[in-house]
């Protein structure tokens, strides 16, 4: 790491020589070990999409078991081999592995790396007006650590004892004792190794994002002129920087317990009548450490989606975002609160009940900044001149999911109610709507919106609409019924649940069949997106520089921004990014790089005063250029 810094120093000065000499990078430098933030972003995006299809197909497999427990799954044998047992059903141990890997893949590899990795990398330099990230080399390392981590996690799907099976939270002692279940053996080791590399990758990425946002803004880009996307990436990176090291420490202690026989998490355990030597450990200690990451992780996943939604909704409603500063304040509030609510995941672990009420109180406060965000989205849309691009539809979809999933969060945040609902499908419904689907919709909105800048072509609109409606209706059809089964007591992660059925039959098979069919249809409709994505990269309609008439800086770059993003000088920034439909203005948008002196017809009195400062902003050009040659 530290050598990387000094190495990056050399590489950095190197990169600037490039700008002067301008010789073309070869294929490997350009597409594989690229240090260009745009290429790295695309690498993350493609990896994220591939992981999403893997993670999604795992969920279809366990949905088949839940919806159609009697179904013959022999046709899956070519893929799953002996994980299909002799009676033609999914192996019971493997069912747990499916649930675990679905969670791990979706939370970390799709919605953390695929979402944050893609859009933080792509948008931060473009929207703040920088040539590239603070350190292109560390940025490249970040992606390749992610790739290594992905390769290890992927390989664990194919080992004989199966991948990790203790749930994505890998609670000890199940995860700490290799003999506890097949998935706790090699699969768990690979899981931990993979996650260690993933943490390194996330930290490298996050450090770069923070450093770039603080140090590399163009002249005039003060913090209060930054688009909300940048604010959300900034807070996401801070969350990651503070919480991922804690997961690493939890994982390290777990590794010591697993491989060296220490007793951090293990105490007085009997396996097959034999007492283990471990004495004095505490399994709850692991849960505290894990959820200190685990809860901020929810916001690491969600905040980028919220930031991009703010940007897309303002652009396509042709209205300034309602309450810009309140939006920043609510992001900040969520970031702070994210660190002090972790124990609401642990209401039933035997924690001190008094502590439970403290965490309940803090948890419910999160409703305040969340509601601020929801109201601000709705008031931005209110009486707007709405343009329903696919990106806009996915953003509105996010607002819908954020509200309907968030409301059940208030129920679950109450410790008294949670005791009844803990580990039921009610929880599954809650977090799939508010975190899973909402963030996924943010990811999709981002892809549809910034595709023209990424690949220089447009995605097909009609296919986008079909994709949106299939996904939107599908997501509700899948997750809404889960509230009912959950309230009735149907537990999550169970292979089959017969306690409420007649004569040992599975309970709620009709609802579960409905959910499974809906899940299959929703998952299949993602193929429309995949086709649209791949087809449009090569054959899509050529994009213009600014297809959505948007204000932010990335749309001032050429259709295919080269290395360094702007062929000439980086534009200066004079105004906030949300001057849409300004009274008196000629067009319905005024980009950030247009000075107030050029728009006397629409300036407000206080903005006319800003004209005097434009000289000062322009005079910073020399200093800005000089800093790149340092």
């Amino acid at each position: 790491m530290s050598t990387a810094i000094s190495h990056a120093e050399e590489v950095h000065t190197h990169a600037h020589d490039h700008e002067h000499e301008h010789h073309e990078p070869n294929f490997i430098q350009k597409y594989i070990f690229s240090e260009d933030h745009k290429t790295i972003a695309k690498q993350y995006l493609i990896m994220g999409i591939l992981w999403a299809f893997i993670g999604g197909s795992l969920s279809i497999m366990f949905r088949l078991q839940l919806g159609f427990p009697e179904m013959q799954l022999e046709w899956l044998r070519p893929i799953l081999g002996s994980w299909i047992d002799e009676s033609g059903k999914i192996d019971k141990e493997f069912y747990l592995a499916l649930v675990t890997m679905h969670g791990t893949i979706m939370v970390f590899f799709v919605l953390t790396a695929g979402l944050s990795g893609t859009f933080s990398n792509f948008l931060i330099p473009l929207q703040i007006g920088a040539r590239d990230m603070a350190s292109g080399f560390i940025n490249m390392l970040s992606f390749w650590f992610f790739f290594l981590s992905s390769a290890i996690m992927f390989s664990s799907l194919f080992i004989e004892t199966g991948p990790a099976s203790g749930g994505w939270v890998i609670y000890p002692p199940l995860s700490a004792l290799p003999q506890a279940m097949p998935g706790s053996g090699l699969g768990m080791t690979l899981w931990l190794t993979s996650m260690a590399f993933f943490i390194v990758s996330s930290l490298m990425g996050g450090i770069n994002y923070i450093c770039t946002i603080i140090n590399l803004r163009t002249r005039g880009m003060t913090f209060t002129k930054m688009p909300l996307t940048i604010w959300s990436f900034f807070f996401t990176a801070i969350l990651g920087l503070l919480s991922f090291p804690v997961l690493l420490s939890a994982a390290l202690l777990l590794i010591f317990d697993r491989s060296f026989g220490t007793s951090f998490y293990l105490s007085e355990i009997y396996i097959q009548g034999q007492a283990l030597p471990n004495v004095g450990g505490s399994a709850i200690l692991y849960q505290h450490l894990f959820w200190f990451l685990g809860h901020p992780e929810v916001y690491i996943v969600l905040l980028p989606a919220l930031g991009m939604t703010s940007e897309i909704i303002a652009t396509n409603a042709r209205k300034p975002i309602f309450g810009y500063r309140a939006m920043i304040g609510s992001l900040m509030g969520i970031t702070v609160l994210a660190f002090i609510v972790w124990a609401h995941h642990m209401f039933v672990t035997g924690m001190n009940p008094f502590l439970g009420s403290v965490f309940m109180f803090l948890t419910l406060i999160i409703a305040v900044p969340s509601a601020v965000k929801a109201f601000n989205y709705i008031t931005t849309l209110w009486k707007g001149n709405l343009i329903f691009t696919p990106a806009m539809l996915f953003s509105i979809g996010l607002v819908s999911l954020f509200i309907s999933g968030g409301v059940t969060g208030i129920i679950l945040g109450n410790s008294a109610l949670d005791i009844n609902l803990h580990d039921t499908y009610f929880v599954v419904a809650h977090f799939h709507l508010v975190m899973g689907s909402a963030s996924f919709f943010g990811l999709m909105a981002g892809v549809y919106h910034w595709f023209p800048k990424m690949f220089g072509r447009m995605m097909n609109k009609t296919l986008g609409y079909i994709h949106f409606w299939a996904t939107f209706v599908g997501v509700y059809a899948v997750f809404f019924p889960m509230h009912y089964t959950g309230i009735a007591g149907f537990p999550r992660r169970y292979y089959s649940f017969t306690a409420l059925g007649n004569d040992g039959q599975n309970a709620f098979t009709d609802l579960n069949q409905f959910i499974t069919v809906a899940a299959i249809l929703t998952f299949s409709s993602q193929a429309i997106f995949f086709f649209n994505f791949v087809y449009s990269i090569f054959k899509g309609k050529k994009a213009t520089e600014n297809p959505w008439n948007s204000n932010t800086l990335e749309w001032t770059t050429p259709v295919d921004p080269g290395h360094g993003n702007w062929p000439g000088e980086i534009p200066a920034v004079y105004r906030w990014p949300y001057d849409y439909s300004k009274p008196g203005a000629e067009s319905d948008f005024i980009p950030q790089h247009i000075p107030f002196s050029a728009t006397p017809e629409s300036n407000l009195p206080e903005e006319n005063e800003e004209i005097a400062k434009e000289k000062a902003i322009e005079s910073l050009l020399a200093a800005q250029n000089e800093s790149y040659n340092r």
Partner: protein, 192 residues
């Protein structure tokens, strides 16, 4: 209303050197790692079943050695600022040797622990001491690598009053590793 001067300062790009800033963010992540460990220590200790023992004598001496290395590191930075190359080489070499000596002393400190029948595998109170000192040792090795790179640069005259970034990063990291150990050591002293 801000004055124009204040506005200019607020808008001056790159008021901090990005490399040094990156260093600080890296330090933040290490702080969080050890904050998690020491919090885990407190949470676990509060649950009882906790074996008490004295820290090995060598840890006191090694702490002194590490503090001394911080002083010589600071001398190196001052020498670099004044372009005194011989003093720079001498003090940076001393720092490196003291760093190595610290690691050796930590290792023998572990032997003393073993003599006291405190093992890595056993009651968590002992395991934690090994984890603290071991992971700090790993980070110190990374610090020695940074120091070695700076040492080579110093001997090639690449560090001077006009090229201070490298030695600044190196000394910040080294002082941090020093402070980190002092924190861990005091933490263990107070809680043992």
């Amino acid at each position: 209303m801000k004055t124009e001067q204040e506005l200019l300062e607020a808008q001056t790009p790159r008021s901090v050197n990005p490399k040094i800033f990156t260093m600080w963010l890296f330090i933040v992540s290490i702080v969080m790692l050890f904050a998690a460990f020491t919090s885990a220590y407190l949470v676990r200790k509060a649950e009882g079943n906790w074996v008490e023992f004295n820290l090995p004598d060598l840890f006191y001496y090694s702490t002194g050695v590490l503090i001394a290395s911080s002083i010589s590191m600071h001398a190196a930075l001052i020498a670099a600022k004044k372009d005194q190359f011989n003093a720079l080489r001498l003090s940076i070499s001393i720092t490196f040797v003291l760093g190595l000596l610290f690691l050796v002393m930590q290792y023998y400190g572990w032997s003393q622990l073993v003599e006291m029948n405190v093992y890595f595998v056993g009651n968590p109170s002992g395991s934690f001491v090994y984890v603290f000192s071991g992971l700090h040792g790993l980070h110190l090795i990374s610090g020695l690598v940074v120091l070695l790179v700076a040492l080579v640069a110093a001997f090639r005259l690449k560090i001077n009053a006009k090229a201070l970034t490298q030695i600044k990063i190196c000394s910040t990291y080294w002082h941090f590793l020093d402070a980190l150990w002092v924190y861990l050591f005091l933490f263990l002293l107070i809680n043992n």
